[in-house]
């Protein structure tokens, strides 16, 4: 009967993988020196010592890996959260995680920790901030072991307000330099020099994908609402909590290493839903791949568009994403499909 659907899914998946590969190759070849696609492999294998080798392996490759991880993780978190809340405006940042992380980083900057401890403190502080937010949102919305999904959303929004107010406080009372550093950090960027951090980001992101696949049945059943999902044998209380934690960890990781890169976690999931439908089995992986590819592509544009100057990546994600999404919305008009 519906095996034809699986074939369709296979085709979509192939397409998305190709998209990612294309984005990666494009990103590898473009920059201050354009390296033809045909030479990339050669340079990477035997070009050690040449400047091209350094550019590819030290500058572009790490960015690509980080971009894939962050883009994938953000989209994944977005898909999961939109699944839990069935509200098309929910995105990874709605729950205040980005606010908490940003506050952590701002605090580290203002306290001058990066001078005393080193710049690894920034992602660490970001992660601690994200964690603190997640824990407070969670604690505040669990009552008698039950989680109030909608309350949680509002509490997240509130925590996010409080965090950004606190950050504003820091910004208003600190030096000019610190203020700038906070602003830049919040804008988001993929230039992270620490290889270990990049490795960790990649691992968390892939693990997040794998673990979230344990919850596909839950996510699919939740499309019918919590009560109906329970009738289908889903332990919604526990599953929603775990899904929330997964999404939070992913978001926290992204924000800590790359700042607040907007748009991806909100729109990629909706965009993919329009294309492949609402079944989470295909939705999760498709969003993950497309999100990664999208960020890598945008980052390449950010590096090259007004070269030699670079743009913050958020400029590109916002403009490209926003315009194409409006275009789709108007032309397809499949409003109903947005959950």
């Amino acid at each position: 009967m519906s095996y034809s659907r699986y074939i369709k899914w296979g085709l979509w998946l192939t397409l998305f993988i190709l998209v990612v590969i294309a984005a990666v190759l494009y990103s590898l070849s473009r920059g201050e020196i354009d390296i033809p696609l045909s030479k990339i492999a050669g340079i990477l294998i035997e070009g050690k010592g040449s400047i091209e080798y350094t550019v590819l392996s030290e500058i572009r490759l790490p960015r690509i890996i980080l971009g894939l991880s962050v883009g994938g993780a953000l989209s994944l978190a977005g898909v999961i959260l939109q699944g839990i809340y069935r509200n098309p405006l929910v995105e990874p940042y709605t729950l205040g995680i980005s606010g908490g992380a940003a506050l952590g980083v701002a605090f580290a900057i203002v306290a001058g920790l990066s001078y005393t401890i080193g710049s690894v403190i920034l992602p660490a502080a970001g992660f601690i901030g994200a964690l603190a937010t997640v824990v407070s949102v969670y604690m505040l919305s669990v009552r008698k072991g039950k989680i109030h999904t909608q309350n949680m959303l509002l509490i997240g929004v509130m925590i996010s307000f409080i965090a950004s107010s606190a950050m504003m406080f820091l910004m208003a009372t600190t030096t000019n330099e610190n203020l700038h550093n906070i602003v830049f950090w919040v804008m988001g960027s993929l230039d992270e020099a620490n290889e270990n951090l990049i490795r960790i980001a990649a691992i968390i992101s892939v693990c997040g994908l794998l673990v979230s696949y344990l919850f596909i049945h839950t996510l699919n059943a939740l499309r019918l609402g919590e009560e109906k999902a329970r009738h289908l044998g889903i332990n919604t209380d526990i599953s929603i909590k775990l899904l929330f934690i997964i999404a939070s960890m992913l978001t926290g990781m992204c924000v800590s290493v790359a700042g607040v890169i907007g748009f991806v976690g909100l729109i990629i999931p909706q965009f993919i839903r329009i294309i492949v439908g609402s079944d989470f089995r295909i939705l999760l992986i498709s969003s993950f791949l497309t999100g990664g590819g999208f960020i890598v592509f945008c980052d390449t544009l950010a590096r090259t568009l007004i070269a030699p100057n670079e743009l913050p990546i958020g400029v590109i994600t916002g403009v490209i994403g926003g315009i194409s999404f409006i275009f789709i919305l108007i032309n397809l008009g499949k409003r109903s499909k947005l959950i």
């Binding site: 499309r223 009560e227 009738h231 889903i234 609402s278 089995r281």
Partner: protein, 269 residues
Amino acid sequence: MKFLEIENMSCGYEKKFLVSDIDISISKGSFVGIIGPNGSGKTTLFKGISGDLKLKSGKISLGNKNLKLFSHKERARNLAVVTQDIESPDITVEDYVLMGRLPYHTGFQFFENEEDLEIAEKYMKLTAVTNMRDKFLSQLSGGERQMVAITKALVQEPELLLLDEPTSHLDIALQIQILNLVQQLNDELGLTVMMIIHDLNLAGEYCDELILMNKGKIKEKGLPEYVLTYSNIEEVYGTVVFTQPNPLSGRPAIFLVSKRILNSISKER
């Protein structure tokens, strides 16, 4: 030991409404109808059985095992519910029906297997929704949607099926079709059915046993002939009806009579 045993159960909404003193025991393969006025607690009773409401007291056992001890999945494999409200999420009929197989999937089972598809197909044929498989639920008529919800519950292949007003939006053909189907499963596979229904004629016609609820308590239970008496109905519903056996089946049939006619009759006298 009966299949479903409910002992001294009570449950409800905080301080607002309570069903209480519920003792029901149902043997495997029976078809039990639950009737009673609006707000008498029929749906609340179902919510207690399905686990949507916590029990305030009492105990429910299914097949000799306390329902509390069932895992979520186990429960869903043994008990399917068709609720009263008609949902319309954006999902195709086919996907929706296939969700009925979720309780049978292990966490790692990614695709529906042959069996799932066959079972879904079978019940979609039985309920005649095959031709709308690719429509979205929001594009169905009220009755179509109800039919699809019942299909999903059947696909769960439960031991016990709880139907909350399953025929309320169905035309007579589908009413009969769905009730015949449930009766058939009941006869052939020993599916135990509890059904809330307002149509007393259908209740009398199809159910082996009726439970009449009133104000959160069980007012009467037993054979349809025994429950659907003129006096019971008058007492619980506060309405004058005319009863007479169905000329074909011999089951009790109830005639509602409009006031206009009642008035004209009483004038004549």
